[in-house]
């Protein structure tokens, strides 16, 4: 048999299999009416999940006048970009907060991924002498922890990290759950023979990890990186505990502060206005929502592309290992 004949045969076989699968699938299908009902149900649920974003965007582009007379409307009577103009005027504060958010997210993700994956790799080596000990080191924090106060005491009073950028980065860098995801992934996907052969060639474990394990384990790096990225980007809790200086306020913390104190952001009056006049002229209601929109939009644009890595990470994590 020539190669092309073989290929043809295989193609035919595949076509038959596919047709069979389709036939069974059709037999197994739910009724069209049920399908329509379920579709409607999920359309409704999806709507409920996305509607608040649409609503907040609409509020952010409402004019102050329209909000005063009609409240927060789904479709404002008069549109206005005053909120965004105001934010543009305060771009110093906003961009600084954005900078802090980005720095914390990037540095935190890099540190976190390095620590998590190296620990995961160490735990995945079956011959390692101290594996049992390290396993316990990672496992115990999953079922017992010192709690908020003890953490606060350590970070603020012992390490004196409060009001530095490190208190936003370090406490969130590693989690036992992520380490275990890595461990399970490495153990199930990396064949021992590769590592053995590298060892015979004289490679150290560090070389094996950085030259062999890292390149063939991109999915797990993506997963852990994404967990951490979203964790850092969305974090406001560390800021509210440890940060009292204005120059370390991240976007989330800015939003959090604005909820309590609307004037928080208004610091740069335009020419001819006193600070108080400027604050009074702020389109306060729509400005709040505009900042929320600024935080939501990057995530909303990015997450559909990363969702699959999230799911793969979760399914790895569920495997017992």
């Amino acid at each position: 048999m020539t190669v092309s004949e073989k290929r043809k045969l295989r193609k035919e076989q595949k076509a038959i299999e596919l047709a069979e699968a389709r036939a069974t699938a059709k037999l197994d299908r739910i009724k069209p009416a049920t399908n329509a009902t379920f579709n409607a149900l999920f359309a409704l649920l999806s709507f409920v999940c996305l509607f608040p974003v649409f609503y907040v965007i609409m509020i952010s582009v409402s004019s102050e006048e329209s909000i005063r007379t009609h409240g927060y409307a789904l479709w404002p009577e008069t549109f206005s970009s005053a909120a965004y103009q105001f934010l543009w005027n305060e771009r110093g504060t906003i961009s600084h907060a954005l900078l802090i958010s980005v720095i914390v997210t990037v540095v935190g993700t890099v540190i976190g991924v390095l620590l998590t994956t190296s620990m995961g790799y160490v735990l995945s080596r079956p011959q390692y002498r101290l594996r049992g000990f390290f396993n316990w080191v990672v496992f115990i924090p999953m079922i017992f922890n010192g709690g908020m106060v003890a953490n606060y005491v350590v970070v603020a009073n012992m390490l004196h990290l409060n009001d530095t950028i490190w208190c936003l980065i370090l406490p969130l860098a590693v989690s036992s759950f992520n380490v275990i995801i890595c461990k399970t992934f490495f153990r199930t996907t990396i064949p021992d023979s590769i590592i053995e052969s590298a060892k015979i060639d004289g490679a150290t474990q560090l070389t094996i990890f950085s030259r062999i394990v890292v390149p063939i384990s991109k999915p797990v790096f993506a997963t852990i990186g994404l967990f951490l990225t979203f964790g850092y980007w969305n974090d406001w809790f560390q800021s509210s505990l440890y940060i009292s200086k204005n120059n370390l306020v991240s976007l989330q913390a800015l939003l959090n502060n604005m909820m309590k104190n609307l004037d928080y952001i208004a610091n740069n009056p335009s020419a001819g206005l006193s600070l108080q006049q400027y604050r009074n002229s702020m389109p306060s209601e729509s400005v709040r929502m505009a900042i929320a929109v600024i935080i939501v939009i990057p995530i909303a644009c990015a997450y559909p592309f990363f969702q699959k890595y999230f799911i793969s990470g979760l399914t790895i994590g569920a495997v017992k290992g």
Partner: protein, 324 residues
């Protein structure tokens, strides 16, 4: 001869092998993360001794020095916390909310995951999943703005609709009766897509031949779900259950603190949990730091006990499903 023998036995039982260069290198590789765990997980556990002390900041001395100089006070801090009026309320709120959340976040996502797997169009199914996953990526601060947009007494959508229908405005942020439902709804809203996708992932991993066999035997969709799908995803359900039970003395701080706008006094009795209580006292210095730490230790010990107990029970019923 003897040497060969030891080498052979080392290969058979690798655990008995001598300390090798490999072990040194792996230890070095694991060291940074171990240091992290020591500092940010184990040092706080050590810091819990503060809850057995009558801590006073000695003038002119550092925190650590004052910690060691403070007097031991036994379980006084615990007594203070456990016998205070708020304790019963906090315990009730934390446990009840968690139980409700566990049930809701199990039943609804599993049902939806089974249903979404049946849709004709895989593309539509993917779209729904993506859209429903969205709230999971929002921080509670942002979600609190969403809620505020709906519940603002003068301008919010909820009151706009109520007044348009001829009803009376509701002062949402000072009406405790509604909040158990609002909090349960928000918790479900935020994690629904996530949980559904988790269960869906394990449903799609089920061997398709099981369904084919069931189909030949004339099983209905309902029977397939009951006898194949649910038993197949049982391990996943049990893992999620144990993990959630293990957090039963904790609460999603963001949900209770941010969504209620910082737990105002009017909502104190319905929206306070151990975590909001601890945070508020830490921020306002309402209680001494030893007493707050005692509250935290109480939480941690209870959780540890619950998770071990849950795991023990599960391992007795079905030893394969236990996680420890």
């Amino acid at each position: 001869m003897k040497k060969e023998k030891t080498a052979a036995s080392a290969q058979v039982r690798p655990k008995r092998a001598r300390w090798t260069r490999d072990d040194t290198e792996l230890t070095l590789l694991g060291l940074p993360a171990t240091i992290w765990f020591a500092v940010f997980c184990y040092l706080p556990m050590f810091g819990l001794i503060i809850s057995f002390k009558d801590f006073r900041l000695a003038p002119g001395k550092g925190f650590l020095a004052s910690l060691f100089q403070s007097d031991w006070c036994g379980f006084q801090n615990f007594n203070f916390f456990l016998s205070s009026n708020t304790f019963g309320m906090l315990l009730r709120n934390t446990l009840l909310y968690n139980l409700v959340f566990i049930v809701i976040n199990l039943v609804i996502p599993v049902t939806l995951a089974i249903i979404i797997n049946q849709l004709y169009s895989k593309f539509a199914s993917k779209c729904y999943q993506t859209m429903m996953f969205f709230p999971y990526f929002m921080s509670w601060v942002v979600v609190s703005y969403f809620v505020y947009a709906f519940l603002n007494p003068d301008k919010g959508l909820a009151n706009n609709i109520i007044t348009a229908l001829g009803g009376e405005k509701v002062m949402w942020y000072s009406a405790p009766a509604y909040w158990p439902f609002i909090l349960a709804f928000m918790s479900t809203w935020k994690s629904l897509g996530y949980n559904m996708v988790v269960y869906l992932a394990s449903i799609t991993g089920i061997d398709g031949t099981l369904y084919e066999a069931a189909l030949l035997d004339g099983a209905t969709k309902w029977q397939q779900a009951k006898y194949i799908t649910i038993p197949s995803i049982k391990p996943m359900i049990i893992i999620m259950f144990i993990l959630n039970i293990g957090k039963i003395f904790y609460s999603d701080f963001g949900l209770f603190y941010q969504v209620t706008q910082g737990v105002p006094n009017s909502l104190y009795n319905v929206a306070s949990t151990f975590d909001t209580f601890i945070f508020q006292n830490l921020r306002t210095n309402g209680m001494s730091i030893g007493q707050i730490a005692a509250a935290g230790l109480f939480q941690a010990v209870c959780c540890c006990a619950t998770i071990l107990l849950a795991n023990f029970i599960v391992s007795k019923l079905d030893s394969d499903s236990a996680i420890i």
